[in-house]
Amino acid sequence: MLVTVVYLLSYLYFFVLWNNSDVNVPKLSYFFLDLLDSIIVDVASECHRVARLGLDSNLEEEDEELKLSAQARVRVADPSNSNEANGKYVVDIFGQTHPPVANEIFDCLNCGRSIMAGRFAPHLEKCMGKGRKARLKVTRSSTATQNRYSRGGPSPGSTHSPYSNYSTNSMNRLAYGTSTFAGEEHSNGTLES
């Protein structure tokens, strides 16, 4: 409302200036002052009601949170604070270190070959017959985004049509008919090596 007030005041100010050469200057002055007083009392009455009924009780908490947030940003931006010195090569809370690419070895659930954990996703992509070329083709054609709740700018939510070379049933049959060891893994429910 304050932006509207400023806009309206500017408009009225120019209106009065434009009619300055007229004889009715005192009348326009009174009209202008009366309207200004009315707008100011509107805002004051609204704020008075909000303050009196306690609808702004969260403001102090918000200011406190903003202060904490400002302190946090200053602290993290300080280079002397070495929170995450090496990034990936830090020791975690259990005293363990991990390689950049996970090196746990397990058998692929689709074809049964031994695969390293960090390379399982690209392997499974090829293994399940979902090639990258077909993927890119589908992605490029469906760039249009759906706007959730139709508010403001759209966010890129990709709406892809299902793309599959094989039916799920045959994929399951093919997967678990290949090796008995995969079946054993499946019955356990976990992959522990």
Partner: protein, 554 residues
């Protein structure tokens, strides 16, 4: 008479108002109600009798503000509202005819009376054509609220059956259960970050840790049919992470089932964490919803995804000519918020007292204000008003009708420009509080603010207990749109941990506050406090009680 509204502080009425109500009752209020004129956008004023220009009874002036005496119905200007009680004993209560506000001529202050506000709001209900429809849906909303409360009770019953077996890993057991790294299987940090959040969502976690006969039956059926069951694989992840084993876990079985289920998401490229979150909840609903309830709507769904994350958004479209409001409800499992790039928090009346030191900082409350702000619809989407029977300009306003147990807020950082045909990421810092009060964004608060913050109980108010939320997880994104990295922070027993794929490290609050949040997860405060109490009872190690977590202890 009225039920006490918890979000208001009812100020003590001055003695003059008390004397007036004691002597005259509601006769003055009812007489005023006939003179009220309501505008379509919610403002109320007192109609002038005989359409004359009102004049002060004392000085006969016709300028400035006018007040109407509630006893003798005479008009007074602001200066003579002091003289009127002196000349006429007991004539102290006035009404500002421009704004319909009570005013005491002796105390020289505005008064706020719930009974008067109810009279004004009754006039509004008479004016709008949709008043009868609103009364019918109040009962349905109360039924939904009871179901929500019973849902919490149900979750509490499941919680009592929680049996977490604690292995005696003496060297690594000073940290609570549930902290375990997830191996990156190849650009799967989007999946790992969301899984870490789901592993620590209190109602969601308690459901899976309490087990269930359904899952055993499904497991038996899976062995025969050789089907991939997503719920069993989620259950397997919960069992593995909460088993006490601390070496990083490879969610390969889950990834395989997930790619079987969602064929369109089965690719090696980096994906959106929010999209994975939405799709996974849809998948859980699809799996479990069919067996739990037949073919009911989403509102009555009893699957764990809807029990925990289901909320209801309300969309009001108001005709600017006659004030008719069309209301629709939209179920949601999260709320997507635009970043408030242009800081316009001074537009709200309640924010005038707030001093903005950093004028360019975006806040979560600013984003929620932007989400619930009335928005004028463009000329190409004019509303066909059922009252006017033609297309009119209209205002659209969103609000939250029903809050979920776990509130998931998604910040839209990836924007796509249709004009430039390019996408970019908004690297703007967003401040988010650790305790969030969602009362100002409920439908009742939005409706109240639309009609001038009158002290009036709109149908189906949620109490304060269910509007207070506490943060428990944040998913952050660093990098660019094409190549980035997701990291999640989880809060276990008021200690923050950074889950960076296989690395679990302790961080302080400052690191979490300064992070670039992409998804923020809040749980209702009652569930948060209960979860903290329950977790403290889980025995870590009977022989060693370390209260301060030390990184790298062996």
């Amino acid at each position: 008479m009225l039920p006490r509204n918890p979000s208001y502080t009812n100020p003590e009425p001055c003695q003059h108002l008390a004397e007036y109500k004691l002597k005259h009752g509601f006769n003055g209020y009812k007489a005023i109600q006939k003179l009220l004129v309501t505008s379509p956008i919610g403002k109320t004023s007192v109609k002038k009798p005989n359409t004359k220009v009102p004049r002060c009874g004392f000085c006969n002036g016709c300028e400035g503000r006018f007040y109407l005496c509630l006893i003798c119905s005479s008009f007074s200007c602001l200066d003579h509202t002091l003289l009127h009680p002196q000349s006429e004993s007991g004539h102290a209560v006035f009404v500002d005819i421009e704004r319909t506000e009570l005013y005491c001529g002796v105390c020289r202050d505005q008064l706020y009376d719930p009974d008067f506000d109810q009279v004004v709001m009754s006039k509004h209900s008479m004016g709008v054509a949709g008043g009868a429809t609103g009364n019918e849906s109040i009962g349905q909303r109360l039924i939904k609220r009871r179901r929500l409360v019973s849902g919490i009770v149900g979750l509490d019953l499941q919680k009592s059956k929680c049996r977490v077996s604690t292995k005696d890993l003496r060297g690594k057991s000073c940290y609570p259960l549930g902290l375990r790294g997830l191996n990156n299987l190849g650009s799967t940090c989007y999946m790992n970050s969301v899984l870490q959040v789901l592993l620590h969502a209190p109602p969601f976690r308690d459901y899976f840790l309490s087990g269930g006969q359904r899952l055993e039956a499904c497991h038996h059926r899976r062995a025969t049919d050789l089907m991939c069951c997503l719920l069993c694989d989620v259950n397997a992840i919960f069992s593995a992470v909460y088993s006490g084993d601390r070496s990083p876990y490879s969610p390969a079985q889950f990834l395989y089932s997930w790619w079987q289920h969602s064929a369109n998401l089965a690719c090696y490229e980096q994906q959106d964490a929010h999209e994975f979150f939405i799709s996974m909840l849809d998948a859980i609903h699809e799996k479990e919803g069919k067996t739990r309830n037949g073919s009911k709507g989403n509102g009555d769904c009893q699957c764990i995804a809807h029990k925990v994350f289901y909320g209801l958004l309300r969309s009001d479209v108001t005709c600017m000519a006659c004030g008719f409001t069309s209301t629709t409800y939209d179920p949601c499992v999260d709320i997507s918020l635009n970043l408030d790039t242009d800081v316009s928090s001074t537009e709200k009346g309640k924010k005038l007292t707030k001093q903005n030191e950093d004028g360019s900082m975006s806040t979560l409350s600013g984003c929620l204000d932007l989400f619930t702000r009335p928005e004028k619809l463009g000329s190409d989407q004019k509303l066909y008003c059922q009252n006017c029977r033609e297309r009119q300009d209209s205002l659209k306003q969103m609000s939250i009708r029903k809050l979920p147990l776990v509130l998931s807020l998604h910040v839209k950082r990836f924007e796509h420009s249709f004009v430039k045909k390019c996408s970019r990421k908004i690297d703007r810092y967003l401040h988010f509080p650790f305790s969030l009060d969602m009362t100002p964004y409920l439908s009742s608060s939005i409706l109240r603010a639309r009609y001038g913050n009158r002290n009036f109980t709109f149908g189906g108010d949620q109490s304060d207990m269910f509007s207070e939320f506490e943060i428990f997880a944040v998913v952050t994104h660093s990098g660019t749109l094409e190549s980035g990295h997701y990291v999640s922070f989880v809060r276990v027993r008021n200690q923050w941990y950074r889950c960076n794929d296989a690395w679990i490290t302790v961080v302080d609050e400052a690191t979490v506050r300064a992070s670039q949040c992409y998804m923020i997860f809040y749980v209702q405060k009652t569930l948060h406090n209960k979860a903290n109490e329950d977790l403290s009872h889980v025995p870590n190690s009977p022989g060693r009680d370390l209260f301060l977590p030390i990184a790298g202890c062996c």
